[in-house]
Structure formats: structure tokens, C-alpha cells
Amino acid sequence: MGELLEDPPAAAAVDEPPPRPARALPGDVGFWTFIAADASLFAVLFFQFSLDRSSHVSVFNEGQRELLVPLGAVNTLVLVTSSWQLASAVRSAHRRDMAKATRLICGTVLLGLVFAVLKVFEYHVELSSGHTISTSSFFMYYFIITGIHLLHLIVGVIALVVIGFRVRRDTGSPRELVIFECGASYWHLIDLLWMFIFPLIYLAR
């Protein structure tokens, strides 16, 4: 986001394009409505979870003991690393180093897939131990909240694959950067949501 801090040119030459207006948000401003609405939905889910938890603490604690916390911790690390890679990819794209940006996007996609595979494995373990969506209100929230999050992640992976191809083609259009920033913002949202999901569902007692 270095370009946001640059001073506007003091006296632009006549044939220079007008200075880019300082933007408050990366990507498309309208897209942030989507991000805000999505974040609000999760906020509501977290609120409902906490509300139900406060009235059935023992049920929730009992359910939580059945979760694979180390796997959740590994996935946290995976997502944080992926976010960091993608942020570096955006910086590279701003520097017009598209080859490096593409490599970093590939890395992010791979880490996203690692997250998804670990999550599916985790579901497999839970389901084969007899825990389903209707076992208890804890497992209802566990499967629904992490399931909706996983769907977000899958959409994010697909979006990044498409963006990766576009970045590699390197058309030089500023619109491409805006699309890339939108995708990256969405990916950071996925990461941020997990930062709430992991402590709330896996750790909080």
C-alpha cells in the first residue's frame, strides 16, 4: 500500500494523467460492502454461538474436548502464512514484478488447499467418532460455522486461481490490480474469520 502514502505531484505537467485519488481502501470500494456484510454475518453467528454457549456451558465444553485442537492450530498457521504470502504478492504486483506475484499466488493457493484437506480430514475424524450436526448444539455450530468458512475458502481458492492466470498474463491494466486487491481483501477476510473461529470454537472454555 506504499503508493497511498506518496505525496501528490506538486505541479503536474500538462500531458501527465491526473494524479490518482488517494483511496481509503484497497480494491473496489463497492466490494467492501460485500466484505462488511459477510463479516457481519459471521459476527452474528459468533454472537449466537456465545449466547447459546453461556446457557449450555457444560455441553459446549464437552463437545470442545472432542475437537482436534492441534489440527486447528496447524490450520491457523497455514492461513496466516497464506495471508502473508498474498500480501507480498500484492506488493510484488504493485512493483510490476508479475512473475514473483504469480509464484506467491500459487503458494497461497497451495496453502489454501492444505487448509481444506486438513479440514476435510478433521470432519472425517469427527463424523467417524459419531459427532454430527445433530449431536449437540455445540457440534451444530461447529459444523455450520466451520463449514461456511470452508465454503468461503474454496471460493477464495477458485478466485485466486483465476486471478493468478490474469496476473501472469500481465496486461498492465490498472483494473487488473483492483481485481487482485479485491481477491486479496477477500482472502484476508477468510484468514481474519478463522482468527475468531479458532479461539471461539476450539479454545474458549
Binding site: 463497492g30 466490494f31 460492502t33 456484510a37 449466537q48 447459546d52 450436526i133 455450520i144
Partner: protein, 247 residues
């Protein structure tokens, strides 16, 4: 857009407001659906409510079903505005039109099921409850066509290249988000209580009230868009006057 068509589009826009009013008053208020009865309510209790309030329920659901007509006229008006925005064909405009037209059938049929329950409320409570369930499952799970409408509109509205777009980008994205949030309804049939049941926060309050707000907002911008498209048409067809033209 010619003046005559702009006038028709404005009327279509207003019909969206009429839908919101008729449906909220008929289905919501008279139909006693705000808040809805719980899916866990015993059949006898539900049948007693239908018996005691049969008259208001009948007029409510009849009005609600009729009100959905104006979702169709609204989608037609929106289609005409979208045609003037869409680049590279009209596929998405048609997707919106057909999605919007079919959307009207979803609450309409749901109202018919509830109306059938209120028509003979003295019958077996189990049948009343079955019709009641059918209404809710229809209105909650018929979102697919609405998803097509909202997403098609969103894509066209966000790609509007005008310096000041006819519809704000946030409205386009909000519609897309609402449409995707409808997918949560897929898990609704698993629950008879809690936030994911048809009376819950996630499956009722959010997916039922946000679309109403969205429709009202789109209605306002559609009305203004008709005026702007007419102005665009007038200025494009105006005979050039000799001498410099201001702005």
C-alpha cells in the same frame, strides 16, 4: 430511453414499493408471520391459531399472493434499465428478468399453501401443520431463481461504465451477498428450533428483511435511472445548436 418508456419504468419501479407494502401487510402483519410461528409448535396449538384467526389469515395470504404480481412488473422495469447498462449482449438482463419473474411464484405458492390451511381450519390439525410446513419450506428453499436475479443485476450494475453509475456499486455487491446468504437456507430443513430454523436469526430475520431493504433501495435508484436515461436520450438526439455548447 424515450420519455414514454421512462415513465413506464418509473411506474414499474413504484410497483416494487407496492409489492413491499402489500406483502409486508398481507403476509407479514395479517398473515401473522412477523415473527413466524416456531417449527416446533404442536399441531393442535397451530390449528387453534388458524381457527381463531381464519378471516384475517385468509385476507392476509390472499393479499400477499396478489402482491407478488408487482415483483414481476418491477423485474420488467429493471430489465429495461439493465439493457441500457449491459455491455456485450443482454444475457444477464434476461437472467434478471426471468429470475425476477419466477421469484414472484415462490412467495405466491407459499401464500397459497398457508391460505389452504386457513380455508378449512376445522380440519385435522396434522394437515394444517403439513400445509404450514409446506409454505415455509417453499418460501425458504425457492431462493435459486432469486439468486439468479440478484447476481445478474449485481454484475451488470457493477460493470456500468458511466462516470456516475446508475446504481451504486455497494448496492450491486449487497445484492450479490444477499443472494449468496440465501444458501444458508439449505441447512434450514435440519432444524426445528434455533438460529438456523425457519424462525431463527440466520434463516429468517436476515434473509427475509435484507432483501426488502435491497428492493426498496433498488427501487429508488431505478426511478432515478429512468430520469437519467431519458436525459441521456434527449441530449443524444438533440439537434446541435450553433456555437459553443456549455457542459
Amino acid at each position: 430511453m424515450e420519455a414514454e418508456e421512462a415513465k413506464q419504468v418509473r411506474l414499474c419501479a413504484l410497483s416494487g414499493a407496492l409489492f413491499v407494502f402489500l406483502f409486508a401487510f398481507g403476509w407479514g402483519f395479517l398473515g401473522r408471520n412477523i415473527p413466524p410461528y416456531l417449527p416446533s409448535m404442536p399441531a393442535e396449538e397451530l390449528a387453534a391459531i388458524y381457527r381463531d384467526n381464519a378471516s384475517t389469515l385468509r385476507i392476509g395470504f390472499a393479499l400477499g399472493a396478489f402482491g407478488t404480481t408487482f415483483l414481476v412488473t418491477w423485474a420488467i422495469g429493471l430489465f429495461r434499465v439493465m439493457v441500457k447498462m449491459e455491455r456485450g449482449g443482454q444475457l444477464l438482463s434476461y437472467a434478471q428478468l426471468i429470475g425476477g419473474t419466477l421469484t414472484a411464484f415462490v412467495p405466491m405458492f407459499a401464500c397459497f399453501f398457508w391460505l389452504t390451511a386457513a380455508f378449512r381450519p376445522e380440519q385435522d390439525p396434522a394437515i394444517i401443520r403439513m400445509l404450514f410446513d409446506l409454505g415455509w419450506l417453499t418460501i425458504d428453499l425457492g431462493f435459486g431463481v432469486t439468486l439468479v436475479q440478484y447476481v445478474a443485476f449485481g454484475i451488470v450494475a457493477m460493470r456500468d461504465k458511466r462516470e456516475k453509475p446508475l446504481f451504486p456499486k455497494w448496492l450491486a455487491w449487497l445484492g450479490i451477498w444477499i443472494a449468496l446468504e440465501f444458501l444458508v437456507e439449505l441447512i434450514m430443513p435440519y432444524f426445528r428450533s434455533g438460529p438456523f430454523s425457519w424462525s431463527g436469526l440466520i434463516a429468517y430475520w436476515i434473509p427475509f428483511f435484507l432483501p426488502f431493504i435491497w428492493i426498496v433501495a433498488v427501487t429508488v435508484y431505478m426511478y432515478l435511472a429512468a430520469n437519467r436515461l431519458n436525459e441521456e436520450h434527449e441530449s443524444a438526439t438533440a439537434v446541435p445548436v450553433a456555437g459553443p455548447v456549455a457542459s
